[in-house]
């Protein structure tokens, strides 16, 4: 059997406005630009791709299913500026073929700094998903697939059936990402690893004309899926949803590819598509996996260095989480929400100085000219949060 498990990440941060040290108001976020980006990506990606997915589900019935993780901050922005996006996701969820995963509401790095804050944000996200889609997530994925043994243990304690992580070479070694694993010290949780080669063929290389496999057609990709048959259970294709129409533009043929992929994959009678919780139920973990160090799906390093790679990032994060107790005891819900929106990992991603090698991805909707500008802007906002606490 080879079950293709699509999981798409849907996320838009609340980007900060230019906030100078001389500013004193509490409007940190750039509503105008955020609305503009939301609407633009809705037109180019979310709406057309959701339409396509719905069509595929209608065409293939039970044979085609997919999973999404949609952050709370993205949903909040859709509701404000592009409500039709929420409706189109709801239409997909209502078919029963599209699963929603759990994550932190704010797409944050909270697990690294505060377990209590982490739990609060996951709970808030679950509540938001429940009220928007009427479903309860059973599989957890952490921000940017950041993962280690401790997280798995904590997430099992929260009652989830499975968890996603990057199938990075340095954690897998000789093992294949095409099986399910059991995180060390866990007895119920299934660990599902991203097949980064096949995922990145779609997400990063699809329109690269210098790539030997260009142009990638659904037939060829289905061949690669077939090769897993007999030496794996699953093909985990995890990627940003913005791959469709935004990272890979419509004129690259990405929508055609997506449209034809299910029929090509299903040509082989042993293949099918599953949601992540279906996969967690259908297959048994083949081995225990010990991942003590943090891994993620970011950059070449597949570690935390995209958010914690330099002194500015670490300083900004520490200063931010240092305010946790004060913010929570202030009893000011707006302050709490602002402080949490500052936790969104994108703010720290923009401060990354490794951008020579991984430049393109870091520049995606990056509102700053340099990582230094983003740090300065962030710290100015944080200064203002601090001054609100003193009042």
């Amino acid at each position: 059997m080879a079950s293709v498990c699509f999981y798409f990440q849907v996320h838009q941060p609340f980007r900060l406005r230019r906030y100078s040290v001389f500013d004193t108001d509490t409007n940190y976020f750039d509503d105008y630009k955020n609305a503009e980006i939301c609407r633009k990506v809705a037109q180019k990606c979310y709406l057309p791709t959701n339409r396509l997915m719905l069509e595929l589900i209608q065409r293939h019935g039970k044979a085609f299913s997919i999973s999404y993780s949609i952050t709370g901050v993205a949903l909040e922005q859709f509701q404000k500026w592009a409500p039709e996006v929420v409706d189109s996701f709801r239409a997909l969820v209502d078919t029963g073929q599209a699963e929603i995963l759990a994550e932190t509401y704010y797409h944050s790095l909270a697990f690294l700094y505060s377990r209590e804050e982490f739990r609060d944000q996951v709970t808030a996200h679950t509540a938001k998903i429940g009220e928007t889609f009427g479903v309860r997530p059973r599989i957890f994925r952490n921000t940017e697939l950041i993962y280690n043994n401790d997280l798995a243990h904590f997430v099992q304690g929260m009652g989830y059936a499975g968890i996603c992580a990057e199938g990075a070479d340095h954690v897998l070694g000789y093992r294949s990402p095409n099986y399910l694993y059991r995180p060390i010290g866990c007895d119920r949780l299934a660990l599902m690893l991203k097949n980064y080669r096949l995922s990145d063929d779609i997400a990063f290389r699809f329109s690269d004309r210098n790539w030997a496999e260009w142009p990638l057609r659904a037939e060829k990709f289905a061949e690669w899926v077939n090769q897993v048959n007999g030496n794996g259970f699953v093909v985990n294709l995890f990627m940003d949803y913005e791959t469709f129409g935004e990272h890979q533009w419509a004129d690259s043929g990405i929508f055609d590819f997506l449209y034809h992929l299910p029929e090509q994959v299903l040509k082989h009678k042993d293949n099918n598509f599953m949601t992540l919780s279906q996969a967690a139920q259908a297959y048994q973990p083949v081995a225990e996996l010990d991942i003590p160090h943090m891994v993620s799906w970011a950059d070449m390093e597949r570690d935390l260095s995209a958010w914690l790679g330099n002194a500015m990032q670490s300083n900004a994060l520490h200063e931010l989480y240092r305010l946790e107790e004060a913010v929570k005891t202030s009893g000011d819900p707006q302050l709490l929400h602002d402080w949490r929106r500052l936790q969104t990992s994108d703010h720290f991603y923009y401060m990354c100085t490794k951008w020579f090698a991984d430049g393109d991805v870091h520049k995606y909707f990056n509102p700053y000219e340099s990582p230094y500008d983003s740090y300065i802007n962030f710290m100015n906002c944080l200064d203002n949060v601090r001054s609100r606490l003193r009042r």
Binding site: S20, V21, F22, N310, A311, M312, S314, N315, A316, T353, F356, E369, S370, P371, Y372, D373, Y375, I376, M379, N380
Partner: protein, 443 residues
Amino acid sequence: MLGWEFPPFISGGLGTACYGLAKALSDFGTEILFILPRGSTNQHLERVHVVSAGDKTAPRGRTQTYWTVDGLEHVKLIPVGAAITPYVTDQEYIEQRKREEQARATTVSEKAEAKPPSIDPSLPTSLGIFGTPDIYAGDLFSEVHRYARMVAEIARTNDFDIIHAHDWMTFPAGLSVAALSGKPLVVHCHSTEFDRSGTNVNQRVYDIERAGFHGASRIICVSRLTKDLVTSRYGIPESKCRVIYNAITVNGEPIFHQCQQIEKDDKIVLFLGRITMQKGPEYFLAAAKKVLQVMDNVKFIMAGSGDMIRRMIELAAAMGIGHRVTFTGFLRGDDVDRIFEMADLYVMPSVSEPFGLAPLEALSHDVPVLISKQSGVSEVLVHALKVDFWDINEMANKIVAVLRHPPLRKTLREHGSFEVRKFAWSDAAKACVDVYQEAVQNG
């Protein structure tokens, strides 16, 4: 090569660039005949030896006397007694000449001390210098043309394949030599009249620049910014222009921190450069005023001299920040090192800066930099803070951030001191050689 200034008397980027380039070219084995104008302010040279290879009985100007410099194996230096210096305007030139005339008239003994280059007292000073410094023409333009005639004279008796002229004052000389010898001319544009004078362009300077650009086979521009000026303002096709960024000599040795032990209460923000319109000193002061609204333990140092220094001192006083701004005058050598060592941030708010070597010097001294986006160096420098020169709020915002957040300083310093090593004269020299070859092949 028609160049400028040799250590230790280097008054700005032009001299540094000529020296760095000549040295790197020499290291590659390129033979350079370096014509050096030697006005009254440029008398003393270090590590220079006079080699008198020619026939001393030959008429003046036909002698093959040249100097060699330690460390520049393939460079023959021919000093020319011309009173041209970089960064001088026509008006300044006339005033400068007047002052020198007066000094000469009053004290003969001082004059004797001031004039000769103290290289080898046994040699007559005029021997090594082509032309005599005493017979200066009246104004800058006559002097530029007099220089051109002397250079043409030197060119008759020397062999070379290409002429490389740096900035407008040497363009007439470059053009004459090219016409006489039929060799291709490469002009190197370190700045244009538009950079130096804003919109108050001196038509005669512009005409000389234009003639030089049009007469040259290739134009080397120090940045895309400069290249755009050359193509748009002088009507030069892009195909003739090449961008070669300046570089810096980093010895790779860690800098000895003399001042590390000194406890300083004040944070220090440094402006270092000529205090002239194009360097934007008033924007620095305006930003300083803003910074002092939110921080009080900050000192602003303005190091350099220039025609706007008095106005800046008065402006600082009028803004009520006089006690927080220090003017040091022109600094050189160790004093520059020392001031960099004290500084927490270097600011270059230039209104127009064709390249801008000083930020690279600051980075090589481990000082983070804030530079104007209107500078050539900002095209290539990644690990620097950047701001529009007129945006004093943002300038102040960034100054405050650097002073308040040590991790920002640390990250800028770490990446900056690494990045600055990319700017090597050897790369610039390689690119120059490519341009020479293009010029020789395509004419």
